[in-house]
Amino acid sequence: MTTLPTLPPVVHEFLAAVEKRDAAAVAACFTEDGSYAMAVPHPAVDGRAAIEAAFVRVLGEVDATRWELVTSGVAGDLVFLERVDRFWFGEKEAAIECLGVVRIVDGRIAEIRDYADIATWRERKAAAQGSAQG
Protein backbone atom coordinates (compact mmCIF):
# COMPACT_ATOMS: atom_id res chain seq x y z
CA MET A 1 0.00 0.00 0.00
CA THR A 2 1.20 3.49 -0.74
CA THR A 3 0.33 6.86 0.66
CA LEU A 4 -1.60 9.83 -0.59
CA PRO A 5 1.16 11.76 -2.45
CA THR A 6 1.65 8.87 -4.88
CA LEU A 7 -1.94 8.89 -6.06
CA PRO A 8 -2.51 9.63 -9.74
CA PRO A 9 -3.19 13.35 -10.31
CA VAL A 10 -6.68 12.67 -11.67
CA VAL A 11 -7.72 11.33 -8.26
CA HIS A 12 -6.84 14.66 -6.65
CA GLU A 13 -8.61 16.46 -9.51
CA PHE A 14 -11.69 14.36 -8.90
CA LEU A 15 -11.78 15.05 -5.15
CA ALA A 16 -11.20 18.76 -5.74
CA ALA A 17 -14.00 18.90 -8.31
CA VAL A 18 -16.35 17.18 -5.88
CA GLU A 19 -15.45 19.68 -3.17
CA LYS A 20 -16.12 22.55 -5.59
CA ARG A 21 -19.46 20.91 -6.42
CA ASP A 22 -18.54 21.16 -10.09
CA ALA A 23 -20.28 18.25 -11.78
CA ALA A 24 -18.80 19.03 -15.19
CA ALA A 25 -15.29 18.99 -13.74
CA VAL A 26 -16.06 15.71 -11.97
CA ALA A 27 -17.23 14.15 -15.23
CA ALA A 28 -14.16 15.47 -17.04
CA CYS A 29 -12.01 13.31 -14.78
CA PHE A 30 -13.55 10.20 -16.36
CA THR A 31 -12.91 8.59 -19.70
CA GLU A 32 -15.68 9.14 -22.25
CA ASP A 33 -17.08 5.67 -21.51
CA GLY A 34 -16.29 5.79 -17.79
CA SER A 35 -18.62 4.39 -15.18
CA TYR A 36 -19.45 5.28 -11.62
CA ALA A 37 -21.17 2.92 -9.15
CA MET A 38 -22.27 5.01 -6.20
CA ALA A 39 -22.96 2.07 -3.90
CA VAL A 40 -22.17 -1.43 -5.13
CA PRO A 41 -24.20 -3.54 -5.91
CA HIS A 42 -26.47 -0.80 -7.17
CA PRO A 43 -25.86 -0.46 -10.91
CA ALA A 44 -23.37 2.08 -12.21
CA VAL A 45 -24.11 5.11 -14.32
CA ASP A 46 -22.25 4.77 -17.59
CA GLY A 47 -20.68 7.45 -19.73
CA ARG A 48 -19.43 10.93 -19.00
CA ALA A 49 -22.80 12.60 -19.63
CA ALA A 50 -24.64 10.27 -17.25
CA ILE A 51 -21.93 10.70 -14.62
CA GLU A 52 -22.24 14.47 -14.88
CA ALA A 53 -26.02 14.22 -14.54
CA ALA A 54 -25.64 12.03 -11.44
CA PHE A 55 -23.25 14.47 -9.82
CA VAL A 56 -25.50 17.41 -10.68
CA ARG A 57 -28.16 15.66 -8.61
CA VAL A 58 -25.88 14.67 -5.74
CA LEU A 59 -23.93 17.90 -5.46
CA GLY A 60 -26.85 20.14 -6.28
CA GLU A 61 -28.77 19.28 -3.15
CA VAL A 62 -25.98 19.99 -0.67
CA ASP A 63 -24.57 23.27 0.51
CA ALA A 64 -21.03 21.94 0.84
CA THR A 65 -19.17 18.67 0.63
CA ARG A 66 -15.73 17.26 1.29
CA TRP A 67 -14.60 13.70 0.62
CA GLU A 68 -11.79 13.04 3.06
CA LEU A 69 -9.21 10.36 2.50
CA VAL A 70 -8.50 8.14 5.49
CA THR A 71 -6.09 5.75 3.78
CA SER A 72 -5.24 5.05 0.18
CA GLY A 73 -3.27 2.65 -1.92
CA VAL A 74 -2.28 1.87 -5.47
CA ALA A 75 -2.01 -1.52 -7.12
CA GLY A 76 -1.34 -1.48 -10.85
CA ASP A 77 -4.11 0.50 -12.52
CA LEU A 78 -6.28 0.39 -9.41
CA VAL A 79 -6.47 3.01 -6.67
CA PHE A 80 -8.13 2.25 -3.35
CA LEU A 81 -9.58 5.15 -1.41
CA GLU A 82 -10.86 4.69 2.12
CA ARG A 83 -12.96 7.82 2.55
CA VAL A 84 -15.35 9.67 4.75
CA ASP A 85 -17.68 11.59 2.46
CA ARG A 86 -19.01 14.63 4.30
CA PHE A 87 -22.04 16.59 3.11
CA TRP A 88 -23.58 19.68 4.66
CA PHE A 89 -27.23 20.61 4.50
CA GLY A 90 -27.28 24.10 5.87
CA GLU A 91 -25.01 23.79 8.89
CA LYS A 92 -25.94 20.16 9.52
CA GLU A 93 -23.46 17.54 8.44
CA ALA A 94 -24.14 14.03 7.23
CA ALA A 95 -21.13 11.79 6.65
CA ILE A 96 -20.83 8.33 5.18
CA GLU A 97 -17.87 5.97 5.33
CA CYS A 98 -16.93 4.59 1.95
CA LEU A 99 -14.36 2.54 0.09
CA GLY A 100 -13.81 3.55 -3.51
CA VAL A 101 -12.05 1.37 -6.03
CA VAL A 102 -10.82 3.52 -8.89
CA ARG A 103 -9.48 2.17 -12.17
CA ILE A 104 -7.22 4.48 -14.12
CA VAL A 105 -6.75 4.31 -17.89
CA ASP A 106 -4.43 6.73 -19.67
CA GLY A 107 -4.52 9.16 -16.78
CA ARG A 108 -8.33 9.33 -16.63
CA ILE A 109 -10.79 7.49 -14.41
CA ALA A 110 -12.33 4.60 -16.30
CA GLU A 111 -14.35 3.30 -13.38
CA ILE A 112 -15.17 3.98 -9.75
CA ARG A 113 -16.86 1.38 -7.59
CA ASP A 114 -17.87 2.91 -4.29
CA TYR A 115 -18.80 0.58 -1.44
CA ALA A 116 -21.01 2.34 1.09
CA ASP A 117 -23.98 1.38 3.24
CA ILE A 118 -26.82 3.12 1.47
CA ALA A 119 -29.30 2.52 4.30
CA THR A 120 -26.98 4.23 6.79
CA TRP A 121 -26.48 7.08 4.36
CA ARG A 122 -30.22 7.44 3.87
CA GLU A 123 -30.78 7.68 7.65
CA ARG A 124 -27.99 10.19 8.24
CA LYS A 125 -29.00 12.35 5.30
CA ALA A 126 -32.64 12.41 6.40
CA ALA A 127 -31.57 13.36 9.92
CA ALA A 128 -29.37 16.18 8.66
CA GLN A 129 -31.98 17.47 6.24
CA GLY A 130 -34.65 17.28 8.95
CA SER A 131 -32.45 19.20 11.35
CA ALA A 132 -31.52 21.73 8.69
CA GLN A 133 -35.17 22.33 7.81
CA GLY A 134 -36.43 22.20 11.40
Binding site: M38, H42, P43, V45, A54, R57, I118, R122
Partner: protein
Protein backbone atom coordinates in the same frame (compact mmCIF):
# COMPACT_ATOMS: atom_id res chain seq x y z
CA UNK B 1 -43.94 1.63 -8.57
CA UNK B 2 -47.73 1.46 -8.52
CA UNK B 3 -49.51 3.44 -11.22
CA UNK B 4 -53.15 3.94 -12.05
CA UNK B 5 -54.08 7.60 -11.82
CA UNK B 6 -56.87 8.15 -14.31
CA UNK B 7 -56.84 4.47 -15.24
CA UNK B 8 -59.47 1.80 -14.65
CA UNK B 9 -57.31 -0.02 -12.07
CA UNK B 10 -53.85 -0.18 -10.56
CA UNK B 11 -50.78 -1.60 -12.26
CA UNK B 12 -47.14 -1.74 -11.20
CA UNK B 13 -43.67 -1.36 -12.63
CA UNK B 14 -41.38 -3.74 -10.76
CA UNK B 15 -37.58 -3.77 -10.72
CA UNK B 16 -35.38 -6.42 -9.16
CA UNK B 17 -33.41 -5.69 -6.00
CA UNK B 18 -29.75 -5.42 -7.12
CA UNK B 19 -28.59 -7.20 -3.95
CA UNK B 20 -31.23 -9.87 -3.54
CA UNK B 21 -31.68 -10.88 -7.17
CA UNK B 22 -28.03 -11.86 -7.89
CA UNK B 23 -27.90 -13.71 -4.57
CA UNK B 24 -31.04 -15.62 -5.51
CA UNK B 25 -29.61 -16.40 -8.95
CA UNK B 26 -26.37 -17.71 -7.44
CA UNK B 27 -28.33 -19.99 -5.11
CA UNK B 28 -30.26 -21.30 -8.10
CA UNK B 29 -27.27 -22.22 -10.21
CA UNK B 30 -26.87 -18.99 -12.15
CA UNK B 31 -23.97 -17.14 -10.52
CA UNK B 32 -23.00 -13.93 -12.24
CA UNK B 33 -26.32 -13.56 -14.07
CA UNK B 34 -27.22 -9.96 -14.90
CA UNK B 35 -30.45 -8.35 -13.72
CA UNK B 36 -31.72 -8.53 -17.31
CA UNK B 37 -31.00 -12.24 -17.46
CA UNK B 38 -32.58 -12.85 -14.06
CA UNK B 39 -35.70 -10.87 -14.95
CA UNK B 40 -36.13 -12.95 -18.08
CA UNK B 41 -36.15 -16.28 -16.23
CA UNK B 42 -39.59 -17.93 -16.28
CA UNK B 43 -39.21 -19.07 -12.67
CA UNK B 44 -38.51 -15.49 -11.60
CA UNK B 45 -41.47 -14.12 -13.51
CA UNK B 46 -43.69 -16.83 -12.01
CA UNK B 47 -42.41 -16.07 -8.49
CA UNK B 48 -43.04 -12.36 -8.95
CA UNK B 49 -46.54 -13.02 -10.26
CA UNK B 50 -47.24 -15.31 -7.29
CA UNK B 51 -45.99 -12.66 -4.87
CA UNK B 52 -48.22 -10.03 -6.47
CA UNK B 53 -51.19 -12.41 -6.21
CA UNK B 54 -50.40 -13.06 -2.56
CA UNK B 55 -50.29 -9.34 -1.77
CA UNK B 56 -53.46 -8.73 -3.76
CA UNK B 57 -55.30 -11.41 -1.80
CA UNK B 58 -55.10 -9.26 1.31
CA UNK B 59 -56.31 -6.08 -0.37
CA UNK B 60 -59.74 -4.76 -1.33
CA UNK B 61 -60.52 -4.87 -5.04
CA UNK B 62 -59.73 -1.25 -5.83
CA UNK B 63 -56.29 -1.51 -4.25
CA UNK B 64 -55.22 -4.64 -6.12
CA UNK B 65 -52.50 -4.50 -8.74
CA UNK B 66 -54.14 -6.11 -11.75
CA UNK B 67 -51.18 -5.93 -14.12
CA UNK B 68 -47.48 -5.60 -13.64
CA UNK B 69 -44.37 -5.08 -15.67
CA UNK B 70 -41.12 -6.67 -14.50
CA UNK B 71 -38.13 -4.76 -15.84
CA UNK B 72 -34.59 -6.08 -15.96
CA UNK B 73 -32.97 -2.78 -16.78
CA UNK B 74 -30.61 -1.64 -14.01
CA UNK B 75 -31.80 1.39 -12.03
CA UNK B 76 -28.69 3.35 -10.95
CA UNK B 77 -28.67 5.62 -7.94
CA UNK B 78 -28.81 9.37 -8.66
CA UNK B 79 -30.43 8.73 -12.02
CA UNK B 80 -33.77 9.62 -13.60
CA UNK B 81 -35.18 6.54 -11.86
CA UNK B 82 -33.77 6.63 -8.31
CA UNK B 83 -32.45 9.30 -5.97
CA UNK B 84 -28.94 9.04 -4.55
CA UNK B 85 -30.38 7.28 -1.52
CA UNK B 86 -32.39 4.80 -3.57
CA UNK B 87 -35.79 6.44 -3.39
CA UNK B 88 -38.04 6.16 -6.39
CA UNK B 89 -38.36 9.05 -8.83
CA UNK B 90 -41.97 8.52 -9.91
CA UNK B 91 -41.80 11.06 -12.71
CA UNK B 92 -38.68 9.51 -14.20
CA UNK B 93 -39.92 5.94 -13.96
CA UNK B 94 -43.28 6.98 -15.41
CA UNK B 95 -41.58 8.68 -18.33
CA UNK B 96 -39.10 5.85 -18.98
CA UNK B 97 -41.79 3.16 -19.06
CA UNK B 98 -44.72 5.22 -20.37
CA UNK B 99 -45.23 3.08 -23.45
CA UNK B 100 -44.95 -0.14 -21.44
CA UNK B 101 -47.44 1.14 -18.87
CA UNK B 102 -49.86 2.09 -21.64
CA UNK B 103 -49.42 -1.40 -23.06
CA UNK B 104 -50.42 -2.96 -19.73
CA UNK B 105 -53.81 -1.33 -20.04
CA UNK B 106 -54.04 -1.79 -23.79
CA UNK B 107 -53.63 -5.55 -23.42
CA UNK B 108 -56.61 -5.64 -21.15
CA UNK B 109 -58.90 -3.52 -23.27
CA UNK B 110 -58.14 -5.46 -26.45
CA UNK B 111 -58.50 -8.91 -24.96
Amino acid sequence: MVVGHGRPHLAAVLALDPEAAPAWAAEHGRPGASLEEIAALPEVRDAIAAAVDEINAGLPGAERVRRHLLVGEPWPLASDLLTATGKLRRKGVGARYAADIDALYLKETTR
